[in-house]
Each structure stands twice: as structure tokens, then as C-alpha cells.
Subunit: 373 residues, 2 copies
């Protein structure tokens, strides 16, 4: 029997957005001791979240609240938006998929930067829509080029991660206001703000669900340290939240994860401390890069992209670090692929990374070059 | 701005498959103390699973393995199928949605019983496919009628929950073999086996991933007591698993949940004990029904459907029980809607339910009638 898959599924390539570190370990037989490649938070979860999750584990035999009421209520309080302007999902990846599914018919066009978040691209292809890209410009999302391309390609949506992954760069509110002005009026902006808590609050585009063009996604996987729990959310106009409600996996958010996310929001001190710790770590990484003669990008996230000059060098360094038990990633698309993308670890992890990187650079006789090509 | 949703999403009704008990509590201001309406397992999780989840909580800041390798390996061992014949998802609901998405083009037809699992129907509509139903026959999925209808409607897929929800009835391997013979050759069978662990093992249709027509879904939400954790899986031909891999949410399964599911599979004694406890509870419910003059259906699940004679009575009893803090459900579609669907609780919960039901029946002067209409 020839299995009768849909035409979209039949034509999709057999690729995955990311190979997990566990699979890399299995394939190589190598054990990773320093996991600073997936922008997970080495600073863990808030003690309040930990306690809430331990308690919730006692009732794991019960489904979670499919309305995620307590979580949306708390998010509503924190963000000053209405509960019906928030949709929770099992991780930002699910949220991105739902937004794509709600808006994009097969063949419709999304514009994004070449080398932006692969999982978003995966969803676009997965629903048969078409991705059109523009290059980064000096490691920044090129807002003018994105807007021009959106007009040229008659795009229904532009996807922008801000702060950006994998570069770490950031566009402030002023730049985004200008971008929205320039974007065709009927073009939606999907603003992926997974790392927004690491950006300066006064420079963040204010929330305005009354503007239905802007759909924002956020996550508990980064500053809140709950990547394994799978909680993300959409901030959007009520109509968009209602549309997502027609297609989302209603009981999909883990009960323990919901409890942890609610508690996390009640511990702003913890978040501030993580942001401070990450700032310190980023400075260390940037100084390390400089010392080795590499340039590094300004970062508004929990990682630093270190430009080592060529894709070949970057991949060689990544592989050599892996051999030493240190996991980092390198972006897949040129010219970002000249960078090492290194998550800010604990002070101990940073020390291990620094030593390993210095050894590798020395062993491979890699010469840094502070000028960017 | 008129938001440009896809035509499928625009035309979908604003309904949800199930209103969660938490929402019913919020709407009514009433607090539920006996939660036996969602077929959650009152017997909780295996002590091994509990321990594994407590440990995994320590690394919740790390993403779970997107390949769910350990889980699929353990499932492979337990079921005697290959790892590449298993796809894990965040709950059986997500798995059902992925199967629908992998196979059904908009407009294509799925046949199922009228009153079967609403969440499956939700996914079918959600992807623009068409649901065609046949009535239950004496509270059983009517296999002959399903096969006939599949032929008549040129169905691409038949959906069958076996053991069935909300009736609890079951078709043995022999009946299903006959069904597969009768079904059009190119029609897929999606066999939802959420409750399979409660059916007699020797009567279960043997696993045979070499037959690509049959796609099976299973869950850790029922006998394993992990409803809040969100782990389900698909057992199917390798080609189907590969197709799902092209569209699934790769990092979607919670890290703690994965650890709990793996540990659950290593504790068959616990599962056997839950099945025994549930058997005892079902007998109690059936005797209670008889005592009150109601008929009850044979059950191969962790719940019992008690036929109280009319939809009006069933709804009235459900509401009166809710007032007393006891949550049960009644199926949405006639004639199943004449039943109370009551999950087997702990002995204490069963006692509370029995007393509450007796009181309600007495207060409402409801006369039982042992003959089914």
C-alpha cells in the first residue's frame, strides 16, 4: 500500500529544525558535561516555580486546565493586557505553528531574514506556505530590506525575532515603529520575543493588542529557565486569540508546567537576578573573544555570537569543543555561520568554556581577526 | 483591519472539545471535591514514575530530547516493535491531530461513530476534512455500518476508539480482523487505543506495523495516571512515523513527562494493580446502577457508562451531582447522552459518588428502568 499522505506532507523534506544534544551524544558516543548550545538557562528556575512544580506533581494524574486560566490571568496582570488577548501553548514553537496555521494558506508568502529561527521556517513549509528571505545586514535584521521585500513579494506576514536568534541583536521601539510604517498596510508582523526579558524594558515596543497587525510570541524557556516544561504564549488581538482557540491543542499544556509558569511570574526578583548574571557572563564572553582576536556581537539575549572569521573555522571549533565535552551551536546559514553561538552558562561553565576555547584555538592555530568580513 | 485568517479557520465554529472542570468551577463558583468525570486515574502514577519525575524536575531548564529516544526505546521493548514505528507526542490529542494533518486534505472524508471522541472530530474539522458518522448500535461501534459507510462515502480514513469512549465497549481482535477485511482496501484505520491496557490482552488486535493501513494511538494519561504530563504516541508503519516527523512539534514533549513515561513502563506491577483496582470499582458502579434500577454498559476502560433512561435525567443528575461537589460527564450526543459517564475513583471517591447518586435519585424521584430504550 502506497500511503496516501497529503500533497504538502509528501513533498516536505525529511529534515528537523534542530538535532538535540542527546542525539549528538548518541551519535558520537561522547558525553557532554557543559551544555551551553541551546540557549537554555543555566540559572535554573525560580525557587517559587520549583516549589509550585513539586506540589503540582502530586496531581499529575489530572489534566491541566485547558484554558490555562491562572497563567493567562497572571500574564494579564504582568503585561497589562486582557486575558482574551493571550493564548498559551506548549512552548513557543507550538505557538509559532498555530499562528502560521491560522493565517497562511498554502502558497502564501512570509518574509524573514535568511538564517533566522529554523523552527519557524519549518512550520511555514509544514503548512505549505512560501518563505522569502532577505540577508542580514551587519548581523542585524535589515528592516528596510524586509519591508521592501514584503511589498515586492506581496507577503501576508513578516517574521522577526527581536531580540534576534542566532545573532543576539535588537531593534528598539523606534526602529520597529518605523518598520511598521514602511510595511504594507495589510502585512502582518509576527514578532518573536523569546528573549525580550534580556532587552532594556524602555526600548521594547510597547504592547498594543488593539493593533491586530502585530502578533507577539513569548516563552518561559529562556529567562524563566523552564525550557523542558514547554510553556509559551501569544500576545495578540482578541480575534487572533479566538482564531487560535479554534485549532489549538486544548489540553496541551502540562499541568506542572502551568503551575511553574504562574509561580515564575510572581518572582520578578529572580528574573532580575538572572538578567544581571547573564549580563556578567556576556561581558566575560566578549572579553574572551577580544582576547583571542575574534569579534563578538552585541547581545540582547542570553547568548553571545562570536565571529571567528569563517564557517570552516566555526565548525572546526564547534567540533573540537564537542570532543572536549562542551556543547555550543553554530548557525546554519552563511554569513552567520562564521559565528559560534554560545549560551551564557554559570561562572563554572564559563570557565570551562573559556579554557576549552583557548586550548582549541591554540591547538588548531586559529588566528583571530578583529575585523568583520 | 479585517484579520486575514485562512478560509478553514474563518469558517470554523468557536467551540472547544471539552470544557475543563476548572472552568465549570469558575463559572459556577462551586468547588469540586470528587473529580471522576474526565477518566483521569485516581490511582495516580507509579512510585518509579514519581521518583523519576522529581529527579527530572532538577533539570527542567533543559529542553527534553526532541527524539524522545529513551521513551521510544522502552516502548519498542515493551511492544516488540521497532523504534522507527513509534512517534511520541504531547498527549494523544496532539498525536490524533498529527495523523489527521498527515493524511487528510481539505474536503476528504473520515467515517466515525456519531458521538465518538469530540477531540478527534475537532481536529478533522480543524484541517478542513469532512466527518461522516454512523450511529452506535446497542452502545457498540457498529463495524459493519462503519465499513459500509466508508465505501459509500469514499472515506480515506475510519476512526475507531477501541475500547470505546464514551461507552466503554470493546471489539476483540477477531471482530477487527473482519472489519479490516470489509473496509475498502485503500481506507486507513485510525485505532485510538487510549484505554487498551484495561482490555484483556489476548483479545487485543496484535500490533503489526507492517500493515500500513492501521495507525494506532496510545497514551500515558489513563492507566499510567499521567494525564497532566501530556505524553501520547503513535504506533504505525515507519513511513507514517517519518511523515509525522516532518510536521510534528519536535521539542514538544515535556522533559519531566518523558522521564515519568519511561519509568512507568518499567513498573508493570503497578499497571496490573491499577487494572485490578479499576475492575473492582467498575463492579461496584455496576452494582450501584442495578440497585438504583439503571442499566450499565460492560466496560473495558476506567469508567462506566450508566444508562439512566433519558438525556434529561442524565443531565439533571449530572448537574445535581455537581452541586454536591461531584464531577462526572454525560456524553454530548443522543442516544449516548442518556448515560452518566463515571470514572472509577478510589474506594473513598466511589463511596462519595454512590451516596451522592442515591441522594440525587431519591431527591429527584427518578425511577430507574433496567430495560434499555
Amino acid at each position: 500500500m502506497n500511503l496516501p499522505f497529503t500533497s504538502i506532507v509528501r513533498e516536505l523534506p525529511a529534515t528537523v529544525p534542530f538535532i538535540p544534544v542527546e542525539a549528538l551524544e548518541r551519535q558520537s558516543g561522547k558525553k557532554i558535561h557543559t551544555r551551553i548550545g541551546a540557549n537554555e538557562s543555566s540559572f535554573g528556575v525560580s525557587p517559587l516555580a520549583k516549589k509550585a512544580m513539586e506540589e503540582a506533581l502530586q496531581t499529575i494524574h489530572w489534566y491541566g486546565d485547558s484554558e490555562c486560566y491562572d497563567l493567562r490571568k497572571e500574564l494579564s496582570r504582568v503585561h497589562g493586557v486582557r486575558m482574551d488577548e493571550i493564548s498559551a501553548g506548549s512552548g513557543i514553537d507550538e505557538c509559532l505553528g498555530l499562528v502560521v496555521r491560522a493565517f497562511l494558506e498554502p502558497g502564501e508568502v512570509v518574509v524573514t531574514s535568511l538564517g533566522a529561527y529554523p523552527t519557524f521556517n519549518y512550520h511555514v513549509s509544514g503548512f505549505g506556505a512560501k518563505l522569502v528571505t532577505v540577508p542580514y545586514r551587519d548581523y542585524m535584521n535589515d528592516l528596510d530590506a524586509l519591508a521592501d521585500k514584503a511589498r515586492e513579494a506581496d507577503a501576508k506576514m513578516v517574521y522577526l525575532a527581536n531580540p534576534d536568534n542566532p545573532t543576539g541583536t535588537f531593534h528598539s521601539a523606534g526602529a520597529l515603529h518605523g518598520f511598521l510604517e514602511k510595511l504594507p498596510e495589510d502585512c502582518l508582523l509576527l514578532l518573536d520575543e523569546a528573549y525580550i526579558e534580556f532587552a532594556p524594558a524602555h526600548e521594547v515596543l510597547p504592547l498594543n493588542p488593539q493593533n491586530p497587525r502585530v502578533i507577539r510570541t513569548r516563552t518561559f524557556s529562556k529567562v524563566y529557565g523552564m525550557a523542558g516544561a514547554r510553556v509559551g504564549y501569544v500576545l495578540a488581538a482578541k480575534e487572533t486569540v479566538q482564531a487560535i482557540d479554534k485549532i489549538r491543542n486544548h489540553f496541551g499544556v502540562n499541568r506542572v508546567a502551568q503551575a511553574g509558569a504562574v509561580a515564575s511570574l510572581k518572582d520578578p526578583d529572580f528574573v532580575r537576578q538572572v538578567v544581571r548574571d547573564v549580563e556578567e557572563g556576556k561581558k566575560e564572553y566578549q572579553e574572551l573573544a577580544q582576547k583571542l582576536g575574534f569579534s563578538s556581537l552585541p547581545s540582547y539575549t542570553n547568548f553571545v555570537a562570536i565571529d571567528v572569521g569563517s564557517e570552516e573555522k566555526a565548525v572546526a571549533i564547534r567540533e573540537a569543543l564537542f570532543e572536549k565535552g562542551v556543547f555550543i551551536r553554530t548557525p546554519q546559514v552563511f554569513p552567520l555561520s562564521r559565528c559560534l553561538r554560545v549560551t551564557v552558562g554559570t561562572p563554572e561553565e564559563r570557565q570551562i568554556f573559556a579554557q576549552a576555547l583557548e586550548e582549541v584555538v591554540k591547538e588548531m592555530s586559529i588566528t583571530g581577526d578583529t575585523t568583520r568580513r
